[in-house]
Amino acid sequence: MQIQVKCSCGEGNCPEWAIVELQGVIEAQPSVQDRLQNLEIGCLCHTSSEGKYTFTVGYHELLGSKVPLKKPLLVLKKQKVGDIEPEKNGSSASSKIKLEVVGIIRQRILFKTRPRALISKPKPFVKEKISGPCPIVN
């Protein structure tokens, strides 16, 4: 079978998505783990030096920078079509899959250092912490 990769955005007009990437895992407190929607993760700050960023999560601060991807990433969306096609012989449940390009990612803001603890107390409603970073991935 074949799955055509569709793209309705046309060359040069692909909406650009962003990636904020950090080492390790952000772990929400158990009380909010299953309802993260709308929750603030942290604050991204472009520092005074161009291309350098900080990301403050709770009382952790990460240092990072904006890096272009060596090869761009395309965001594809998988859709099932054909559910609406009970075609003649109805040959099995051959629900076809369609892949559509919905975006492109050309750069990411990468934090690859361990977090630095901020002295001040965290705002009480931020309920997240950073778990120990995993071994380097990049």
Binding site: M1, Q2, I3, Q4, V5, K6, C7, C9, G10, E11, G12, C14, E16, W17, A18, I19, V20, L22, G24, V25, I26, L36, Q37, N38, L39, E40, I41, C43, L44, C45, H46, T47, S48, S49, E50, Y53, F55, K66, K71, P72, L73, L74, V75, L76, K77, K78, Q79, L99, V101, V102, G103, I104, I105, Q107, R108, I109, F125, C134, P135, V137
Partner: protein, 394 residues
């Protein structure tokens, strides 16, 4: 507590954040696993193919999918990451199913998904072995008439005729269109009304023999066959023009497109000679002398056969005082190096380079030279400095 601002997306805000300013990063109201969103890493060349919608994933449910551009095939590999990769769509991306109430100005980046990794593409050789076995298993036997009426075709199914519609091949074979066409050409497949098949060998043999007989009786030159004349007369003998043209293409080549004289074809000495050698050896191995005698007898006047023509087609073995020759054709072998070498070493434990070369020179693996192939799949031994190297299985 303040209610979270209703801000969605915001990729461009995140990426274009001015120095000395900051922006909150939130989980989007739709945040979730979103398994339907896939990240695909592409280089710039592939990017333009994809944006111009010239790319498809191909494969059966039990096969590992490949991605095909018009001319190349790529293996698809998922590469996981242990980093946390927050995916932030652009503001008002339709993917967010934004409602009317969030038309307020976005002031945050909202994370739709944490990406577990991305798909990487690695260029690979097309998987044409399946094409080979599919077409060879069921050769096309023209039963005198080529144009079956539609009723009949429907009854029998084109598969039963040994003809496979292009769309079926594309569905079944993991290769790009260009590679698939090259594969069909290499198999000498014929196209009839958009379907492809390999013509039955006996049929092709009869057709070629008839053509050669006619050239003797009509005084045609084998290096300047007039297409109109040949096709016309062959049709009178019951051979459809499509297949006559196919045989001209299979055993020869077009030499001129002269408007007045019509197309001229020349038959290729080697291809014609090889055809007859194959025919003789289809019956099993033969003593060299008797093979050569019969082969020479079958060669049409004006052509000369030489044993070199059969490299990659036959092997010679010495048994006692006798020398035997038998068919061992590279064209029926797998194009996967591991399988190819395993067949070769099953046939013979040791190969000299001159014997081995015809059986591996067609192997193409992206990123691997033929020396690399030999290093990977064979062991090379050279008893003395001046002797020929010998290759055996690793």
């Amino acid at each position: 507590m303040d209610e979270q601002p209703s801000c969605r997306g915001g990729a461009e805000l995140v990426l274009n954040l001015e120095s000395n300013s900051s922006i909150p990063i939130n989980y989007d109201p739709n945040f979730g696993p979103h398994d339907d969103l896939i990240l695909l890493e592409v280089d710039e060349k592939l990017l333009s193919d994809i944006l111009q919608q010239r790319v498809t994933f191909r494969g059966q449910p039990d096969e590992e999918a490949v991605l095909c551009t018009p001319s190349k095939t790529y293996a698809v590999k998922f590469v996981g990451t242990s980093n946390t990769v927050f995916l932030i769509p652009p503001t008002n991306s339709p993917i967010l199913n934004a409602n009317a109430d969030n038309e307020k100005e976005t002031v945050a980046g909202s994370v739709l998904k944490v990406a577990p990794g991305n798909i990487e593409l690695v260029e690979v050789a097309p998987k044409l072995d399946k094409l080979n076995s599919l077409l060879r298993k069921k050769p096309y036997r023209p039963e005198g008439k080529l144009e079956l009426d539609e009723m009949e075709v429907e009854e029998m199914g084109k598969d039963n005729l040994g003809l496979f519609p292009w769309e079926d091949l594309v569905d079944r074979i993991q290769a790009s269109d260009e590679e698939l066409r090259a594969g069909l050409r290499a198999l000498s497949a014929v196209e009839i009304d958009g379907s492809w098949g390999i013509v039955d060998e006996d049929y092709m043999n009869n057709l070629l023999t008839m053509l050669l007989n006619l050239s003797v009786s009509e005084g045609w030159s084998l290096s300047a066959l007039k297409e109109d004349e040949v096709v016309g007369l062959m049709e009178a003998y019951g051979y459809p023009s499509k297949l006559v043209l196919h045989s001209l293409d299979m055993y020869g080549s077009k030499v001129s497109e002269d408007v007045n004289a019509g197309h001229l074809w020349t038959l290729d000495e080697k291809r014609v000679c090889v055809h007859f050698a194959r025919g003789i050896l289809r019956g099993g191995k033969r003593k060299m002398e008797s093979f050569m005698e019969e082969w020479m007898r079958k060669i049409p006047p004006g052509m000369r056969a030489s044993f070199d023509m059969l490299e990659g087609e036959v092997l010679v073995e010495r048994l006692g005082v006798g020398t035997w020759v038998y068919a061992f054709s590279v064209s029926s072998m797998s194009c996967t190096p591991a399988e190819r070498f395993s067949v070769l070493f099953r046939e013979r434990q040791k190969w000299e380079w001159k014997d081995l070369e015809p059986y591996i020179k067609d192997l193409r693996v992206p990123g691997l030279s033929s020396e690399g192939l030999l290093l990977k799949y064979t062991r090379r031994t050279q008893p003395t400095k001046d002797s020929e190297p010998v290759f055996s299985a690793r």
